[in-house]
Amino acid sequence: MTDTAQLYYDPVDLLVERMRPRLGRPVDAMQVAVALESDGITDRSAQTDYGQADVFMLAEEVWRRLGPVPAQRSARTARHGEGRALRDISHGLLYLSPSALFPVALALVGGRTMVVALLAVGGLGWVWASCSAWLAYRLLGRGLDRTSGRLLRGAALVGPPVAAGTGLVASPAGGWPLVLLAVAILAYQMAATVALFHRREGALLAVMAPGVLAGLGYVAGVVPTGPAVTVGGTSVVAALAFAVWWTTRPAPGRPPAPARPEPSFPRAVRPELSRLPVVLAYAGLSAAFLLHANAPYLSGAADLAVAAAPLVAGMGLVEWRAHTFGVHARGLLHRTGYPRQFGAAIWRRLIAEVVIVTGLLSGLAMVLLALLSATGRLTDAGAVLATAHVAVGAAYFLVFVVANHARYARVCAALAVALAAHFTTRQIGAGTADPLQDAVFFLGSAVLLQVSLIAALGGILAQAWRYR
């Protein structure tokens, strides 16, 4: 009797154990029925092999016998990789590195041409590169990998001649030096854009290293003008060549582009055109806000000319914290039970990040101010202007947060208000004749930008669905 009992196995029990790995944690008996059928069980075999009326009845029995299946929650929040953090932080170096070549360029083309190039072409390049990157990401998001590459390649190749034309229009007397400088500025801006898109920041820094060293050597007086210009120019040309080559490669994390046909370029781009103007406005206002503040001081006192350096060098830190904020928000979604808890936590985190960004940029600014102070070149105006750029950096953290919610119009409105405020106060006050007063006004407009952006996040930031 005991032996018989040991040898007897209920076929449904055996079926339950056989199906358990495939079933995992079914949601109901209907899903069990589906799995049984796809495993070859029919109404007939349910009757003859398992003694049940049909597959549905058998499924209910299997469902009952499966019992509670332990929850297995897969890890959802990807770890914020150190590689990503380093790449983000390195962006500051990418943005800062061409400034090593500015002194030699200044010696070559003269102060006025330099200012024209930086303002007109720098502003154009900012808009050109931002819009190209935005469009490329949009196309990539729609699976149009090859079109995305074509767009970046076209923008990288067409941009420099357009920059040359813009420079000449802005300053017809600039001549060839201005043309060359304009081409170099936009070529580098597009090279950096492509490098960021293809996660080739390290490679671009390596390509630019000889040029940066030559520029620094020129400043230190150990490299003559000719070799410094030659090496710097060669680095920029090489950077553009590499960027063009990268655009022919698959985007990061994507397989080699399949042979699947993609729509023509105009058809691919058309759906994005309705949103392009606001992105264009966002880039234009960003450029205008910073260039308007700094333009008067670019060829003036050293502490005012370099006051934006901590912001430029720390922009990678700002991007890193903005990305970290997004990761944290998505993680928070899985750690909180209700939207109201999420809302309170996300606002606390936002304020904390603004403080962190301000602290990080302040650290960079302190280094610069200490150096300037040690060499006796620091004025009150320089200190306030550097502080204002720290505040702008914190504001840009907020800009990235708002833009990540695709609320470009709100960003534009905040930038327009800040720009108008600085412009108006400069007109009403002593203008650039009193750099200290102007720097205080700029600091005020940066704080106003922060406040506007925080207001712009009202009604958006705590909406949980946005962090899916």
Binding site: R22, L23, G24, R25, P26, V27, D28, A29, M30, Q31, V34, A35, E37, S38, D39, G40, T42, D43, D54, F56, E60, P68, P70, A71, R73, S74, R76, R142, G143, P258, R260, P263, P271, R330, L333, H334, R335, T336, G337, Y338, P339, R340, Q341, F342, G343, G459, A462, Q463, A464, W465, Y467, R468
Partner: protein, 473 residues
């Protein structure tokens, strides 16, 4: 109406839609196609009696929304919706039907909310809807051992918002609405009924609910999301059966699932898929080498891995055997196509097993095989089986959906996911010329008797007439 098929992709449902529209020239047609993002281009030339194609993108950009919390109308509708969706599977028919009624009413309230200017997209993704979902989940104690997170609720509602977009679209104006399948496309039929009282007919090729359940078995989604989404599909499917005037399953197998999910047997009329027997004529000769042909979509539901593994066994016994697989992968299925290529290489079948892309002439593709194989894990009433039979080719197919009804005794039906069984059947047929010839002739005769396009079209003419008459139109 259809979802994800005609006129943007190839496949059985698309063949059927084209056949139906062209085959009933006495009717004027408007096609409402639930699509991905609206950027799709039609792959099928428009029939002359197709007046309009209306794409209804489900996954396109989020419609413009208005700020502010949703109003009481939405909250009432959504509470009823949650009550139906979050309750456990109801085995008692009367209670199950009452729940389907509640669910249908909730859908109608949501449609009316959108039709009267409410922002359904904004409401469904609002913190209010999320809180209601979490409250309902906790109140029903659905899952005591795994708590639902806010992230789970966000994930589920994000999917539901996209899937319910047809409720916000303007209802179609027609004498009759014919849904090619159950599921989301039936939402279009529902809104037409609510607004204009339009009667509707529903065909089902594959079993919509079954395929959703199957798809989510391998989905790496949180359990709570699976519960919410699959329960939604379950209730929607039941509500679809409840709402339509005539249900036309394409096989007895489909009928069985439909009855289980609340369909009314008095309103059902089985219509088999039909093919043009003149287009798929019997093959005059056989290929020189023993050849197995597959024709269909390159898709996990077709389980080509089982076919390739089975062929590796066949090849060990019949060294000159070939496997030719005709068909394309859908745009989002290139990974599966690649996995098939890799498996062919891994099993040393390169050159013997080939993925040949879309067949220029399907009849010729069947003629190129000694036998035709279909190893799907889920099917409705597959055209490829009936077409192969019309070409006089015996079929080796898995016992899923209406396959065994189609094949009957004219081929070999084996269990799914069983390469050894598939291989045994293939070897048996490939080695026995006389058996192949006899089964092929029987298959052709069976098609002429039961599965011609004229029979199918006549059945639909009758269904349309009867449905309109019953609706007083």
């Amino acid at each position: 109406m259809s979802e994800g098929t005609y006129p943007y992709v190839t496949g059985g449902v698309s063949v059927w839609c084209d056949q139906l529209i062209r085959g009933l020239p006495e009717h004027r047609w408007e096609m409402v196609a639930l699509s991905v993002d609206g950027s799709e281009r039609p792959l099928w030339p428009a029939p002359p009696n197709l007046d309009r194609l209306t794409p209804l993108p489900l996954w396109g950009a989020r419609p413009a929304t208005r700020p502010g919390a949703p109003g009481a109308d939405f909250r009432a509708a959504y509470a009823a919706f949650l009550s139906a969706v979050l309750s456990p599977l109801e085995p008692r028919p009367v209670q199950a039907e009452a729940r389907r009624n509640r669910f249908l009413l909730a859908l109608r309230q949501m449609h009316e909310y959108a039709a009267t200017g409410g922002d359904l997209t904004g409401a469904l993704t609002s913190n209010t809807a999320l809180t209601m979902t979490l409250d309902a989940w906790h109140a029903l104690h659905i899952d005591s051992d795994e708590r639902i997170t806010l992230g789970d609720a966000v994930g589920a509602l994000w999917l539901l918002e996209h899937m319910l977009r047809p409720l916000s679209a303007p209802p179609v104006r027609a004498d009759l609405v014919h849904a090619a399948m159950n599921g989301l496309s039936v939402l279009v039929a529902m809104t037409a009924r609510w607004r204009y009282g339009t009667p509707s007919v529903m065909s089902e090729h594959g079993m919509y609910l079954r395929e959703r359940y199957l798809g989510f078995l391998d989905e790496d989604a949180p359990h709570a999301v699976k519960v919410l989404v699959l329960s939604f599909f379950r209730e929607l499917t039941g509500a679809g059966y409840l709402m339509v005037d005539t249900l036309a399953p394409h096989s007895v197998y489909n009928r069985r699932w439909q009855l289980r999910n609340g369909a009314d047997p008095d309103r059902m009329s089985t219509v088999y898929n039909g093919i043009d027997a003149d287009r798929f004529r019997p093959a005059a000769t056989e290929p020189a080498a023993p050849t197995i042909v597959f024709l269909g979509r390159i898709d996990p539901l077709k389980d080509l891995h089982t076919l390739i593994r089975a062929f590796s066994i066949v090849r060990a016994k019949i060294p000159d055997a070939r496997l030719r697989m005709f068909g394309e992968a859908p745009a989002d299925g290139l990974e599966y196509l690649d996995s098939c290529r890799k498996l062919i290489a891994e099993l040393g079948l390169t050159g013997a097993a080939t993925l040949e892309g879309r067949a220029g002439d399907p009849a010729q593709a069947y003629h190129d095989g000694s036998i035709v194989a279909l190893t799907s894990i889920s099917e409705g009433f597959p055209y490829t089986v009936v077409e192969a039979m019309a070409c006089g080719r015996p079929v080796v197919a898995t016992n899923v959906g209406g396959v065994s009804e189609a094949v009957d005794r004219t081929g070999m039906v084996v269990p799914p996911r069983d390469p050894a069984a598939v291989a045994r059947a293939c070897v048996h047929l490939l080695r026995d010329h006389q058996l192949r010839a006899r089964l092929g002739a029987d298959a052709r005769a069976r098609v002429l008797e039961h599965f011609t396009v004229d029979q199918s079209l006549d059945a639909y003419r009758r269904i349309y007439r009867d449905t309109l008459l019953a609706a007083g139109r």
